[in-house]
Assembly symmetry: C2
Homo-oligomer: 319 residues x 2
């Protein structure tokens, strides 16, 4: 079992290392939301993390763990979203080069953000094949190390630090909820709970229209996500290999939710927490709304994964 | 001079009283914004205050200062916005009745919010005359005490606690910036700086399309705001009497800004602070953007006044 590789000591080392590099983000709560759902919710606000999402934790730790020979040649990844910005900033802070492959249809504002962190942006066609091929080409040409968005032990260790902090910032959590896309955040959260809060049950949450993790865990076989249909754009990816192993071994439950409930949850976050949160962030709250009895009177930690929201998308989804 | 009535002891008493009633809101900053403007900005996030704005401070303190005879008959005000919600919640926490007069064209969501805090909502025509008449009628009928939104010493004392906290949460502020509508927040901020940070210059900021405070201070005569033209809907009101006196006596400067700059500043807050902020909140940052040289390298505190934003308005203003 792969997950047995990850030890308590590795988690503590990641936490210690990242304590100097990442923001310790605040935990918010809302009396109004608590009253509406009948539980005590603690929102870990990774939308306030550097580069606007938890992805900065994993990218920073992966960069930190490179040898000096590797650092010399820089890092690369392909991403249209948060991981690209996170890796660009992590590389900038480590004083190394970053090559970020982005699809031609990525929003201009995201390309500008990546360039703003000092990275070189390489544009390619918007297919997965073109992204991978372009990225391989860069690795060959420059010797840069590929930093994956989730399917990587150091990335998982980095992501675990959000839940590690949340466990310290709260008391007696009955549940910890994270959304599942590639599974980096959820597998990190599982490892944090396993070692530092063993009585806390960890629940993954996923849109019904992108439920590959749910189906994979149910069948015991990693199934790819094909043709995802959800506004939670961060959760359209398929589960990673190492992530699948960790989740399969440790998860209590994966709850899938309707799109309407995601939108309802997103509105609640907007109106009552007054923060900018991506649609993906609303999926755990949606799971609570659809299963109120299950969470009644419980203390529940929720990881708000990021706040890099396109205003047009945000508005369209909320009206 | 009216403002000489307000003493250091009164400010301390308001702070002490409200410490048990209001949230001590966090102070945010953004490396990206600091780099763009060339100054160190500290944003006091009153959007995270109870009921979503600083208005809860003034309303709570005014309610707290009522005698027990007055409390028996409850409180009333007319408001389509933040003061109505703030007073409703303050009354609810004090276990007294609140009658909130709201114009018929107020958004349903705002009426629901006020009712959600347990207040009775009385609908009237949307003219200022109808609002005042309806509110007077309620006072006569019920004996409820009218709690004004800004033109009141206790309200000003309550609002001063935002800046009092910000002064404690930061070090060596060169400037404190607040938006000016009725002037409650700005006059409270002036009093806080006068007694607790005398080296900090206080600057009011106002849209050019609603610049009654600027004109009033310039002419030394309180001029009403007629036909205001600005997206900063919280700043369309005219300066109050007591507020005018305090501002005239103590202000360093009022800066007026263009609508385009307000929108630019609002986008910066959205993209880099990841918080929901009302258009009014962006006015102080807009003043800095239009006067970069003036603030270069300085430590500047900014009060983010509230986050009760109508999504349609927000989107329209940002696109």
């Amino acid at each position: 079992m792969r997950n047995s590789i990850i030890t308590r000591e590795q988690l503590l080392k990641a936490r210690e290392t990242l304590s100097k590099l990442v923001h310790k983000t605040p935990v918010f709560s809302s009396e109004v939301i608590d009253k509406k759902v009948g539980a005590n919710l603690y929102f870990k606000c990774e939308n306030f993390q550097k580069t606007g999402s938890f992805k900065f934790r994993g990218a920073s730790y992966a960069v930190n763990q490179l040898g000096s020979d590797q650092k010399k040649n820089g890092v690369t990844t392909h991403s249209s979203g948060n991981h690209g910005q996170a890796l660009a900033k992590a590389a900038q802070l480590a004083n190394i080069k970053a090559y970020i492959v982005m699809p031609e249809n990525a929003p201009t504002v995201k390309k500008q953000a990546v360039r703003g962190y000092g990275a070189e942006v390489i544009i390619c066609e918007s297919t997965q094949a073109a992204r991978e091929k372009t990225c391989s080409g860069i690795q060959e040409k420059t010797g840069a190390t590929f930093i994956p968005p989730y399917d990587d032990e150091n990335v998982v260790l980095g992501q675990s630090t959000a839940a590690q902090e949340l466990i310290d910032q709260t008391e007696g959590l009955d549940y910890l909820l994270a959304p599942v896309g590639g599974g980096g955040l959820l597998s990190g959260t599982l490892m944090a709970a396993k070692y530092f809060s063993p009585n806390t049950k960890v629940i993954g949450s996923e849109p019904k229209g992108a439920d590959d993790a749910y189906r994979s865990i149910k069948t015991g076989k990693r199934l790819p996500q094909e043709n995802p249909q959800t506004i939670a754009d961060g959760l359209r990816t398929s589960l990673g290999e190492i992530n699948f192993e960790i989740i399969r071994e440790n998860i209590d439950q994966i709850l899938t939710v309707e799109e309407d409930t995601i939108i309802k949850a997103l509105k609640m976050i907007h109106h009552h927490l007054k923060i900018m949160a991506e649609p993906s962030c609303a999926v755990p709250l949606a799971a609570i709304l659809e299963n109120k009895r299950h969470f009644e009177g419980k203390n529940v930690g929720i990881i708000i994964s990021g706040g890099n929201v396109d205003l047009d998308v945000y508005y369209e989804s909320l009206k």
